[in-house]
Symmetry: C2
Protein backbone atom coordinates (compact mmCIF):
# COMPACT_ATOMS: atom_id res chain seq x y z
CA UNK A 1 0.00 0.00 0.00
CA UNK A 2 2.67 2.37 1.10
CA UNK A 3 5.15 1.10 -1.51
CA UNK A 4 8.89 0.65 -1.46
CA UNK A 5 11.11 -2.10 -0.14
CA UNK A 6 9.86 -4.64 2.40
CA UNK A 7 11.37 -3.90 5.81
CA UNK A 8 11.27 -5.88 9.06
CA UNK A 9 9.86 -3.79 11.91
CA UNK A 10 10.50 -4.50 15.59
CA UNK A 11 7.86 -3.12 17.95
CA UNK A 12 7.78 -2.93 21.74
CA UNK A 13 4.29 -2.77 23.17
CA UNK A 14 2.42 -2.64 26.47
CA UNK A 15 -1.06 -3.94 27.13
CA UNK A 16 -3.60 -4.39 29.86
CA UNK A 17 -4.49 -8.06 29.40
CA UNK A 18 -7.87 -7.95 31.15
CA UNK A 19 -10.12 -7.31 28.14
CA UNK A 20 -8.30 -9.67 25.75
CA UNK A 21 -8.17 -13.40 25.13
CA UNK A 22 -4.40 -13.45 25.50
CA UNK A 23 -1.80 -12.60 22.86
CA UNK A 24 -2.36 -15.38 20.35
CA UNK A 25 -4.92 -15.02 17.58
CA UNK A 26 -8.35 -16.43 18.49
CA UNK A 27 -11.38 -17.29 16.43
CA UNK A 28 -13.42 -14.52 18.07
CA UNK A 29 -10.78 -11.95 17.15
CA UNK A 30 -10.40 -10.72 20.73
CA UNK A 31 -6.72 -11.58 21.09
CA UNK A 32 -4.16 -8.80 21.19
CA UNK A 33 -2.54 -10.16 18.01
CA UNK A 34 -5.93 -9.93 16.24
CA UNK A 35 -6.40 -6.31 17.26
CA UNK A 36 -2.92 -5.32 16.08
CA UNK A 37 -3.22 -7.26 12.80
CA UNK A 38 -6.59 -5.66 12.20
CA UNK A 39 -4.97 -2.23 12.61
CA UNK A 40 -2.16 -3.21 10.22
CA UNK A 41 -4.74 -4.28 7.68
CA UNK A 42 -6.29 -0.81 7.91
CA UNK A 43 -2.88 0.79 7.33
CA UNK A 44 -1.54 -1.52 4.61
CA UNK A 45 -4.74 -2.83 3.06
CA UNK A 46 -3.67 -6.45 3.38
CA UNK A 47 -3.10 -9.16 5.98
CA UNK A 48 0.23 -8.66 7.74
CA UNK A 49 1.14 -11.33 10.29
CA UNK A 50 2.86 -10.22 13.49
CA UNK A 51 5.20 -12.52 15.42
CA UNK A 52 5.66 -12.01 19.15
CA UNK A 53 8.45 -13.06 21.51
CA UNK A 54 5.90 -15.51 22.91
CA UNK A 55 2.24 -15.64 23.67
CA UNK A 56 0.86 -14.36 26.95
CA UNK A 57 -2.23 -16.02 28.44
CA UNK A 58 -5.64 -14.39 28.76
CA UNK A 59 -5.49 -11.74 31.44
CA UNK A 60 -1.69 -11.46 31.55
CA UNK A 61 -0.31 -7.93 31.09
CA UNK A 62 2.79 -6.64 29.32
CA UNK A 63 4.96 -3.59 29.63
CA UNK A 64 7.58 -4.82 27.18
CA UNK A 65 6.19 -7.42 24.78
CA UNK A 66 8.10 -7.48 21.48
CA UNK A 67 6.70 -8.39 18.07
CA UNK A 68 7.90 -8.00 14.49
CA UNK A 69 6.33 -7.89 11.06
CA UNK A 70 7.41 -7.30 7.47
CA UNK A 71 5.93 -4.46 5.48
CA UNK A 72 6.79 -1.91 2.82
CA UNK A 73 6.63 1.51 4.45
CA UNK A 74 8.71 4.46 3.33
CA UNK A 75 7.76 7.11 5.89
CA UNK A 76 10.04 6.03 8.73
CA UNK A 77 9.43 4.38 12.12
CA UNK A 78 7.90 7.37 13.97
CA UNK A 79 5.13 7.80 11.42
CA UNK A 80 4.52 4.06 11.45
CA UNK A 81 4.23 4.18 15.24
CA UNK A 82 1.79 7.09 14.99
CA UNK A 83 -0.27 5.22 12.39
CA UNK A 84 -0.42 2.13 14.59
CA UNK A 85 -1.25 4.12 17.74
CA UNK A 86 -4.04 5.99 16.05
CA UNK A 87 -6.32 3.01 15.67
CA UNK A 88 -5.58 0.88 18.72
CA UNK A 89 -7.73 0.72 21.88
CA UNK A 90 -6.31 2.49 24.93
CA UNK A 91 -5.43 -0.88 26.50
CA UNK A 92 -2.68 -1.40 23.90
CA UNK A 93 0.27 0.96 23.58
CA UNK A 94 2.97 0.85 20.92
CA UNK A 95 6.01 2.05 22.83
CA UNK A 96 8.58 1.96 20.04
CA UNK A 97 8.98 0.94 16.41
CA UNK A 98 12.27 0.45 14.64
CA UNK A 99 13.61 -1.11 11.48
CA UNK A 100 15.76 -4.21 12.04
CA UNK A 101 17.77 -6.59 9.90
CA UNK A 102 15.78 -9.36 8.26
CA UNK A 103 17.45 -12.04 10.40
CA UNK A 104 15.93 -10.56 13.55
CA UNK A 105 13.10 -12.70 14.98
CA UNK A 106 11.21 -11.55 18.05
CA UNK A 107 10.99 -15.11 19.36
CA UNK A 108 14.08 -16.92 18.10
CA UNK A 109 16.51 -14.03 18.62
CA UNK A 110 15.44 -13.53 22.26
CA UNK A 111 18.11 -14.38 24.82
CA UNK A 112 15.91 -14.00 27.88
CA UNK A 113 12.81 -12.53 29.45
CA UNK A 114 11.94 -10.69 32.61
CA UNK A 115 8.51 -11.08 34.23
CA UNK A 116 7.20 -9.28 37.29
CA UNK A 117 4.44 -10.68 39.46
CA UNK A 118 2.55 -8.50 41.94
CA UNK A 119 0.97 -9.74 45.14
CA UNK A 120 -1.06 -7.54 47.47
CA UNK A 121 -1.44 -8.50 51.12
CA UNK A 122 -4.95 -7.52 52.16
CA UNK A 123 -8.16 -6.26 50.57
CA UNK A 124 -6.82 -4.59 47.42
CA UNK A 125 -8.50 -1.39 46.26
CA UNK A 126 -10.16 -1.17 42.82
CA UNK A 127 -6.96 0.32 41.34
CA UNK A 128 -4.77 -2.57 42.50
CA UNK A 129 -7.20 -5.49 42.06
CA UNK A 130 -6.85 -5.83 38.28
CA UNK A 131 -3.05 -5.90 38.53
CA UNK A 132 -2.24 -8.08 41.53
CA UNK A 133 -3.09 -11.32 43.29
CA UNK A 134 -4.70 -10.08 46.49
CA UNK A 135 -4.00 -12.42 49.40
CA UNK A 136 -6.36 -11.37 52.17
CA UNK A 137 -5.81 -13.78 55.05
CA UNK A 138 -5.43 -13.26 58.78
CA UNK A 139 -1.92 -14.76 58.86
CA UNK A 140 0.71 -12.76 56.97
CA UNK A 141 2.84 -14.45 54.31
CA UNK A 142 6.24 -15.61 55.58
CA UNK A 143 8.40 -13.56 53.23
CA UNK A 144 11.66 -14.91 54.63
CA UNK A 145 10.59 -18.49 53.87
CA UNK A 146 9.62 -17.38 50.34
CA UNK A 147 13.10 -15.88 49.87
CA UNK A 148 14.64 -19.20 50.97
CA UNK A 149 12.41 -20.96 48.47
CA UNK A 150 13.44 -18.57 45.71
CA UNK A 151 17.12 -19.28 46.43
CA UNK A 152 16.43 -23.00 45.88
CA UNK A 153 14.63 -22.36 42.58
CA UNK A 154 17.21 -19.95 41.17
CA UNK A 155 19.74 -21.34 38.72
CA UNK A 156 19.75 -23.94 35.95
CA UNK A 157 17.21 -26.70 36.63
CA UNK A 158 14.72 -28.94 34.91
CA UNK A 159 11.54 -26.97 35.61
CA UNK A 160 9.07 -29.55 34.30
CA UNK A 161 7.35 -29.65 37.72
CA UNK A 162 6.65 -25.93 37.33
CA UNK A 163 5.22 -26.04 33.84
CA UNK A 164 1.83 -26.98 32.47
CA UNK A 165 3.27 -29.70 30.24
CA UNK A 166 1.51 -33.05 30.41
CA UNK A 167 2.90 -35.25 27.70
CA UNK A 168 6.03 -37.45 27.67
CA UNK A 169 9.32 -35.68 28.41
CA UNK A 170 10.26 -35.02 24.81
CA UNK A 171 10.71 -31.31 25.15
CA UNK A 172 13.79 -29.73 26.70
CA UNK A 173 12.55 -28.47 30.06
CA UNK A 174 15.84 -27.17 31.44
CA UNK A 175 15.88 -23.41 31.95
CA UNK A 176 18.36 -21.04 33.51
CA UNK A 177 16.42 -19.00 36.07
CA UNK A 178 18.97 -16.22 36.35
CA UNK A 179 16.93 -14.14 38.76
CA UNK A 180 14.08 -14.87 41.17
CA UNK A 181 13.73 -12.08 43.69
CA UNK A 182 11.08 -11.18 46.21
CA UNK A 183 10.74 -7.59 47.40
CA UNK A 184 8.16 -6.38 49.92
CA UNK A 185 7.17 -2.76 50.34
CA UNK A 186 4.26 -2.24 52.69
CA UNK A 187 1.45 -4.50 51.51
CA UNK A 188 2.95 -4.88 48.02
CA UNK A 189 5.11 -7.90 47.22
CA UNK A 190 6.90 -8.03 43.89
CA UNK A 191 8.40 -11.19 42.48
CA UNK A 192 10.90 -10.71 39.64
CA UNK A 193 11.69 -13.75 37.46
CA UNK A 194 14.28 -13.66 34.69
CA UNK A 195 15.39 -16.64 32.62
CA UNK A 196 16.73 -17.58 29.20
CA UNK A 197 13.20 -18.76 28.50
CA UNK A 198 10.00 -19.81 30.24
CA UNK A 199 7.66 -22.71 29.64
CA UNK A 200 3.89 -22.44 29.47
CA UNK A 201 2.55 -21.13 32.83
CA UNK A 202 6.01 -21.43 34.40
CA UNK A 203 6.12 -18.01 36.08
CA UNK A 204 2.64 -18.41 37.51
CA UNK A 205 3.56 -21.90 38.77
CA UNK A 206 6.74 -20.60 40.43
CA UNK A 207 4.70 -17.81 42.06
CA UNK A 208 2.02 -20.28 43.15
CA UNK A 209 4.65 -22.49 44.79
CA UNK A 210 6.33 -19.52 46.49
CA UNK A 211 3.00 -18.32 47.88
CA UNK A 212 2.35 -21.87 49.19
CA UNK A 213 5.70 -21.60 50.97
CA UNK A 214 4.72 -18.17 52.33
CA UNK A 215 1.48 -19.67 53.66
CA UNK A 216 3.31 -22.57 55.29
CA UNK A 217 1.65 -25.16 53.03
CA UNK A 218 5.06 -26.07 51.61
CA UNK A 219 8.48 -25.84 53.26
CA UNK A 220 11.23 -24.14 51.23
CA UNK A 221 13.01 -27.52 51.00
CA UNK A 222 9.91 -29.12 49.45
CA UNK A 223 10.69 -27.09 46.34
CA UNK A 224 13.93 -29.04 45.94
CA UNK A 225 11.97 -32.29 45.95
CA UNK A 226 9.44 -30.90 43.47
CA UNK A 227 12.24 -29.82 41.10
CA UNK A 228 13.81 -33.30 41.31
CA UNK A 229 10.49 -35.12 40.81
CA UNK A 230 10.10 -33.60 37.34
CA UNK A 231 6.34 -33.99 37.70
CA UNK A 232 3.64 -31.41 37.93
CA UNK A 233 1.40 -32.18 40.89
CA UNK A 234 -1.55 -30.43 42.50
CA UNK A 235 0.83 -29.25 45.24
CA UNK A 236 1.87 -26.52 42.81
CA UNK A 237 -0.98 -24.09 42.22
CA UNK A 238 -1.01 -21.66 39.29
CA UNK A 239 -1.15 -18.01 40.35
CA UNK A 240 -3.91 -15.97 38.65
CA UNK A 241 -2.94 -14.15 35.44
CA UNK A 242 -3.90 -10.62 36.56
CA UNK A 243 -0.74 -10.21 38.70
CA UNK A 244 1.65 -11.10 35.87
CA UNK A 245 3.51 -8.61 33.66
CA UNK A 246 5.88 -9.41 30.79
CA UNK A 247 8.34 -6.64 31.60
CA UNK A 248 11.19 -7.02 29.12
CA UNK A 249 12.53 -9.27 26.36
CA UNK A 250 16.30 -9.39 26.01
CA UNK A 251 18.13 -9.73 22.67
Amino acid sequence: MSGGKIIRWKCVCAYDGAPFEGWQSQRGGRAIQDVIESRLREIFGELIRVHASGRTDAGVHARGQVFHFDAAWKHGPEKLRAALRGGLPQQIQIKSVRAVLEDFHSRFSATGKLYLYHLYLGDADPFTRPYAWAIDRPRPLDIEAMKKGAAILRGKHDFRAFSALNGPPKEDTVRDLRRLEIAKRGRHVRIAAEADGFMYKMVRSLVGALVAVGEGKLAPDDLRGLLKSGKRTTRVQTAPPRGLFLEKVFY
Copy 2:
Protein backbone atom coordinates in the same frame (compact mmCIF):
# COMPACT_ATOMS: atom_id res chain seq x y z
CA MET B 1 -34.97 -8.03 57.41
CA SER B 2 -32.17 -8.43 59.90
CA GLY B 3 -34.29 -7.04 62.73
CA GLY B 4 -33.45 -4.94 65.77
CA LYS B 5 -33.01 -1.23 66.22
CA ILE B 6 -32.36 1.09 63.26
CA ILE B 7 -28.73 2.23 63.24
CA ARG B 8 -26.95 4.83 61.10
CA TRP B 9 -23.96 3.30 59.29
CA LYS B 10 -21.03 5.33 57.98
CA CYS B 11 -19.14 3.68 55.13
CA VAL B 12 -15.88 4.66 53.44
CA CYS B 13 -15.55 3.34 49.91
CA ALA B 14 -13.24 3.40 46.90
CA TYR B 15 -14.25 3.05 43.29
CA ASP B 16 -12.87 3.09 39.79
CA GLY B 17 -15.20 5.60 38.14
CA ALA B 18 -14.62 4.48 34.54
CA PRO B 19 -17.47 1.97 34.18
CA PHE B 20 -20.07 4.06 36.04
CA GLU B 21 -22.31 7.02 35.29
CA GLY B 22 -20.97 8.92 38.29
CA TRP B 23 -22.07 8.60 41.91
CA GLN B 24 -25.61 9.89 41.69
CA SER B 25 -28.49 7.56 40.89
CA GLN B 26 -29.34 7.43 37.17
CA ARG B 27 -32.30 6.11 35.27
CA GLY B 28 -30.21 3.35 33.67
CA GLY B 29 -29.05 2.17 37.08
CA ARG B 30 -25.35 2.42 36.20
CA ALA B 31 -24.44 4.95 38.87
CA ILE B 32 -22.35 3.85 41.83
CA GLN B 33 -25.21 4.76 44.17
CA ASP B 34 -27.52 2.44 42.19
CA VAL B 35 -25.12 -0.47 42.44
CA ILE B 36 -24.70 -0.05 46.21
CA GLU B 37 -28.44 0.41 46.81
CA SER B 38 -29.12 -2.66 44.73
CA ARG B 39 -26.75 -4.65 46.96
CA LEU B 40 -28.43 -3.25 50.10
CA ARG B 41 -31.81 -4.34 48.73
CA GLU B 42 -30.42 -7.87 48.37
CA ILE B 43 -29.23 -7.80 51.98
CA PHE B 44 -32.21 -6.09 53.63
CA GLY B 45 -35.02 -6.96 51.24
CA GLU B 46 -36.12 -3.35 50.87
CA LEU B 47 -35.03 -0.04 49.36
CA ILE B 48 -32.39 1.62 51.53
CA ARG B 49 -31.24 5.04 50.35
CA VAL B 50 -27.57 5.90 50.72
CA HIS B 51 -26.35 9.49 51.14
CA ALA B 52 -22.86 10.43 50.02
CA SER B 53 -20.58 13.32 51.00
CA GLY B 54 -21.25 14.61 47.50
CA ARG B 55 -21.67 13.26 44.03
CA THR B 56 -18.71 12.56 41.80
CA ASP B 57 -19.06 12.97 38.03
CA ALA B 58 -18.98 10.15 35.52
CA GLY B 59 -15.45 8.82 35.27
CA VAL B 60 -14.18 10.38 38.50
CA HIS B 61 -12.55 7.94 40.94
CA ALA B 62 -12.60 7.75 44.72
CA ARG B 63 -10.33 6.31 47.34
CA GLY B 64 -12.23 7.79 50.28
CA GLN B 65 -15.83 8.58 49.37
CA VAL B 66 -18.11 8.51 52.43
CA PHE B 67 -21.80 7.58 52.49
CA HIS B 68 -24.29 6.69 55.20
CA PHE B 69 -27.56 4.83 55.45
CA ASP B 70 -30.01 3.74 58.14
CA ALA B 71 -30.78 0.07 58.62
CA ALA B 72 -31.58 -2.45 61.30
CA TRP B 73 -28.68 -4.89 61.50
CA LYS B 74 -27.68 -6.70 64.65
CA HIS B 75 -24.56 -8.57 63.51
CA GLY B 76 -22.03 -5.75 63.84
CA PRO B 77 -20.13 -3.62 61.31
CA GLU B 78 -17.60 -6.23 60.14
CA LYS B 79 -20.33 -8.65 59.06
CA LEU B 80 -22.20 -5.82 57.38
CA ARG B 81 -19.03 -4.91 55.51
CA ALA B 82 -18.55 -8.53 54.44
CA ALA B 83 -22.18 -8.73 53.29
CA LEU B 84 -21.80 -5.54 51.24
CA ARG B 85 -18.46 -6.63 49.75
CA GLY B 86 -19.79 -10.00 48.73
CA GLY B 87 -22.12 -8.67 46.07
CA LEU B 88 -20.32 -5.63 44.68
CA PRO B 89 -18.34 -5.54 41.43
CA GLN B 90 -14.56 -5.39 41.80
CA GLN B 91 -14.58 -1.71 40.81
CA ILE B 92 -16.24 -0.81 44.13
CA GLN B 93 -14.59 -1.49 47.47
CA ILE B 94 -16.14 -0.97 50.90
CA LYS B 95 -13.13 0.03 52.97
CA SER B 96 -14.81 0.43 56.36
CA VAL B 97 -18.23 0.34 57.99
CA ARG B 98 -19.04 1.72 61.40
CA ALA B 99 -22.07 2.68 63.46
CA VAL B 100 -22.43 6.42 64.08
CA LEU B 101 -24.79 8.69 66.00
CA GLU B 102 -27.98 9.55 64.18
CA ASP B 103 -26.98 13.22 63.84
CA PHE B 104 -24.05 12.25 61.59
CA HIS B 105 -24.62 13.15 57.96
CA SER B 106 -22.02 12.27 55.35
CA ARG B 107 -22.63 15.55 53.49
CA PHE B 108 -23.69 18.10 56.10
CA SER B 109 -21.23 16.96 58.80
CA ALA B 110 -18.24 17.17 56.43
CA THR B 111 -15.74 19.91 57.28
CA GLY B 112 -13.61 19.51 54.19
CA LYS B 113 -12.45 17.34 51.30
CA LEU B 114 -9.17 16.36 49.73
CA TYR B 115 -8.95 15.61 46.01
CA LEU B 116 -5.89 14.43 44.10
CA TYR B 117 -5.47 14.98 40.38
CA HIS B 118 -2.90 13.04 38.35
CA LEU B 119 -1.20 14.32 35.21
CA TYR B 120 1.20 12.26 33.14
CA LEU B 121 3.75 14.01 30.91
CA GLY B 122 4.09 11.88 27.80
CA ASP B 123 2.45 8.86 26.18
CA ALA B 124 0.94 7.13 29.21
CA ASP B 125 0.98 3.34 29.29
CA PRO B 126 -2.28 1.34 29.50
CA PHE B 127 -1.96 1.12 33.29
CA THR B 128 -1.70 4.90 33.74
CA ARG B 129 -4.10 6.07 30.99
CA PRO B 130 -7.35 5.35 32.87
CA TYR B 131 -6.12 7.26 35.94
CA ALA B 132 -4.37 10.36 34.62
CA TRP B 133 -4.63 13.20 32.14
CA ALA B 134 -1.80 12.41 29.74
CA ILE B 135 -0.24 15.56 28.33
CA ASP B 136 1.92 14.45 25.42
CA ARG B 137 3.42 17.58 23.90
CA PRO B 138 6.89 18.45 22.72
CA ARG B 139 7.25 21.36 25.19
CA PRO B 140 7.31 20.33 28.85
CA LEU B 141 4.86 21.92 31.30
CA ASP B 142 6.33 24.84 33.24
CA ILE B 143 5.88 23.42 36.73
CA GLU B 144 7.34 26.49 38.45
CA ALA B 145 4.74 28.73 36.78
CA MET B 146 2.02 26.29 37.88
CA LYS B 147 3.28 26.51 41.47
CA LYS B 148 3.09 30.31 41.27
CA GLY B 149 -0.45 30.00 39.95
CA ALA B 150 -1.38 27.62 42.78
CA ALA B 151 -0.09 30.14 45.34
CA ILE B 152 -2.47 32.75 43.88
CA LEU B 153 -5.45 30.38 44.01
CA ARG B 154 -4.81 29.13 47.54
CA GLY B 155 -6.83 30.71 50.34
CA LYS B 156 -10.36 32.03 50.78
CA HIS B 157 -11.76 33.38 47.50
CA ASP B 158 -14.93 33.56 45.48
CA PHE B 159 -14.31 30.65 43.09
CA ARG B 160 -17.30 31.27 40.81
CA ALA B 161 -14.92 31.60 37.82
CA PHE B 162 -13.72 28.06 38.53
CA SER B 163 -17.11 26.42 38.85
CA ALA B 164 -19.63 25.20 36.31
CA LEU B 165 -22.37 27.47 37.69
CA ASN B 166 -24.23 29.49 35.08
CA GLY B 167 -27.15 31.15 36.78
CA PRO B 168 -27.31 34.41 38.75
CA PRO B 169 -24.96 34.68 41.75
CA LYS B 170 -27.43 33.49 44.34
CA GLU B 171 -25.32 30.71 45.73
CA ASP B 172 -22.45 31.28 48.10
CA THR B 173 -19.40 30.68 45.96
CA VAL B 174 -16.72 31.54 48.50
CA ARG B 175 -14.54 28.58 49.47
CA ASP B 176 -11.45 28.22 51.59
CA LEU B 177 -8.89 26.43 49.44
CA ARG B 178 -6.65 25.38 52.31
CA ARG B 179 -4.23 23.44 50.16
CA LEU B 180 -3.31 23.46 46.48
CA GLU B 181 0.01 21.74 45.91
CA ILE B 182 1.81 20.54 42.83
CA ALA B 183 4.39 17.76 43.11
CA LYS B 184 6.35 16.32 40.18
CA ARG B 185 8.09 12.96 40.26
CA GLY B 186 9.52 11.92 36.94
CA ARG B 187 6.71 12.14 34.40
CA HIS B 188 4.01 12.07 37.09
CA VAL B 189 2.54 15.35 38.35
CA ARG B 190 0.16 15.26 41.30
CA ILE B 191 -2.08 18.17 42.22
CA ALA B 192 -3.56 18.05 45.74
CA ALA B 193 -6.58 20.29 46.44
CA GLU B 194 -8.16 20.56 49.87
CA ALA B 195 -10.97 22.93 50.82
CA ASP B 196 -13.91 23.28 53.17
CA GLY B 197 -16.03 22.41 50.17
CA PHE B 198 -15.93 22.33 46.38
CA MET B 199 -18.42 23.48 43.78
CA TYR B 200 -19.48 21.46 40.77
CA LYS B 201 -16.42 20.78 38.54
CA MET B 202 -14.30 23.12 40.67
CA VAL B 203 -11.26 20.84 41.06
CA ARG B 204 -11.20 20.00 37.37
CA SER B 205 -11.49 23.72 36.52
CA LEU B 206 -8.61 24.60 38.86
CA VAL B 207 -6.53 21.83 37.27
CA GLY B 208 -7.48 22.99 33.77
CA ALA B 209 -6.38 26.53 34.59
CA LEU B 210 -3.12 25.36 36.16
CA VAL B 211 -2.32 23.25 33.10
CA ALA B 212 -3.03 26.30 30.88
CA VAL B 213 -0.47 28.17 33.00
CA GLY B 214 1.98 25.28 32.60
CA GLU B 215 1.51 25.43 28.84
CA GLY B 216 2.04 29.19 28.77
CA LYS B 217 -1.52 29.90 27.59
CA LEU B 218 -2.19 31.81 30.81
CA ALA B 219 0.26 33.70 33.02
CA PRO B 220 0.09 32.95 36.76
CA ASP B 221 -1.18 36.49 37.32
CA ASP B 222 -4.08 35.92 34.92
CA LEU B 223 -5.54 33.63 37.58
CA ARG B 224 -5.91 36.64 39.89
CA GLY B 225 -7.95 38.42 37.24
CA LEU B 226 -10.09 35.36 36.63
CA LEU B 227 -10.81 35.03 40.36
CA LYS B 228 -11.81 38.71 40.55
CA SER B 229 -13.98 38.54 37.42
CA GLY B 230 -16.31 36.03 39.09
CA LYS B 231 -17.24 34.73 35.65
CA ARG B 232 -16.59 31.40 34.07
CA THR B 233 -15.06 31.89 30.62
CA THR B 234 -13.72 29.59 27.95
CA ARG B 235 -10.21 30.54 29.11
CA VAL B 236 -10.71 28.01 31.90
CA GLN B 237 -10.85 24.48 30.50
CA THR B 238 -12.20 21.55 32.51
CA ALA B 239 -9.67 18.77 33.04
CA PRO B 240 -10.91 15.28 32.09
CA PRO B 241 -12.50 13.23 34.90
CA ARG B 242 -10.20 10.19 34.67
CA GLY B 243 -7.33 11.98 36.50
CA LEU B 244 -9.47 12.96 39.51
CA PHE B 245 -9.65 11.06 42.81
CA LEU B 246 -11.78 11.94 45.83
CA GLU B 247 -9.15 11.04 48.40
CA LYS B 248 -10.61 11.90 51.79
CA VAL B 249 -13.61 13.54 53.44
CA PHE B 250 -12.92 15.29 56.75
CA TYR B 251 -15.40 15.39 59.66
